[in-house]
Symmetry: D2
Subunit: 142 residues, 4 copies
């Protein structure tokens, strides 16, 4: 899908908001793609974010792809608008085990009020990528 | 609902597994209730876990209630079993703003293979509690 | 939870809208409870709605509890408002096998824009009830 | 994605099971694509399946895409296996208004126990297609 952003200058807004997320800073996460309706976030593995088997905790996997989805929605919003995650569902496909994690957020449908996004998370080790999660999220613009 | 645990000595297993979750340690989270099919986890607010408005990030809210749900399922599992979160859905009801956060996980239906849990997260300031999230989760026993 | 409806005369609105749902008529469904934030719908078993094992199809179970949730949200809306289901998630707990099916919709949080509802479906045979599904739904007011 | 079916002769199994679904017969639904991990179902509009605005009820949209997802999972299962929908989430993107409805089910990840599927529903009028729903579903093999 291809989207025409309501605010062509959306990238600085996305980057500024991302910079204010204490969690993204704590995770060492960075924005690796900011396009209209498409945002990717990457973060390295760290033992501080693990669950009982040493994989990254589902909540951290979710945090990365929630932010990726939220910012993909924000990229299409009016300049003065903010976005809120109303809800999401995540399926976990494989253990979150890798050197780093890449979360992709994509707008499925952008509405004036409600935006639906899909997200994917990949565990990356060297050049090998394994999909570890898939998200479907509902975001409102306020 | 009331459940008869397959392993009456489930509490040490739950506490040992919780202790191995790097994330729960990082969050300063602790188990405040471990009963058959019912686990509560509490964690303090910290700026390191915030989103762009200074509230706790949805992913951290989710991590707390995912662990609460997972351990409520584990409390009813066979002694040698492990549990895996297959998927969850979370609705966010209010900003995650408070001194601390209480996540409650409850088993809705315990099966030999599939367990369904519901979860709730409350933001607590002094004695005031506000529900900030509700979860419905699917967990498998392996 | 207890809710103060914005329109004390909500019941005729709920009943009129229900009466316009072709599907509810086709299913022989009826409103068995209409209260503020709480709506129950009942429908009999019929072979026309089955899946491959002779149980009621998940989509029909979902239809009953979606309508119950939607009308529980409508009961709390402004007189001129309409409600739309944005999304839902349903977990299936047991085969939908019974003489009749009772779907309960309950408002969890009513907002000006977004209402979150939970739902449950029971298969009923004689006086025995078995829960067959649980729903978490997001509804917007327009 | 491309999948190697465990049973190369999956198509008759899918068609036989579909033929036993009373609901699919009642809806006038038919299988328009049966491939490994990919099943499409089409059904015509009928007033009997409407909600209060005359669009097709969310539960019927869900039924079509649930069956499409379930049969896409069944196409990859062992010959003697059956599949059960554990849960699904559906987002509604536009009113289900059209001459007919096309539901596409696709396997995202096939596991020995758990299969994750995504689904889409399109309203079709003449040659115009509008996506009306997106599903993410969890199915187990038994």
């Amino acid at each position: 899908m291809s989207f025409a952003p309501l605010d062509p200058d959306f990238e600085p807004r996305v980057r500024a908001s991302f910079g204010r997320q204490g969690l993204m800073t704590s995770l060492g996460a960075r924005l690796v793609r900011v396009a209209a309706g498409e945002v990717d976030i990457e973060a390295p593995f760290d033992e501080r974010w693990t669950q009982q088997h040493g994989y990254v905790h589902a909540g951290i996997v979710t945090a990365l792809v929630d932010s990726a989805c939220g910012y993909s929605a924000l990229s299409l919003a009016r300049p003065e608008a903010e976005v809120l995650t109303v809800e999401y569902k995540v399926n976990f496909l494989a253990p979150a085990q890798g050197e780093r994690f890449l979360a992709r957020g994509r707008v499925v449908r952008a509405g004036a009020r409600v935006t639906v996004c899909s997200g994917e998370v990949y565990a990356v080790t060297g050049t090998a990528e394994t999909q570890v999660a898939v998200m479907l999220a509902t975001i409102i613009t306020v």
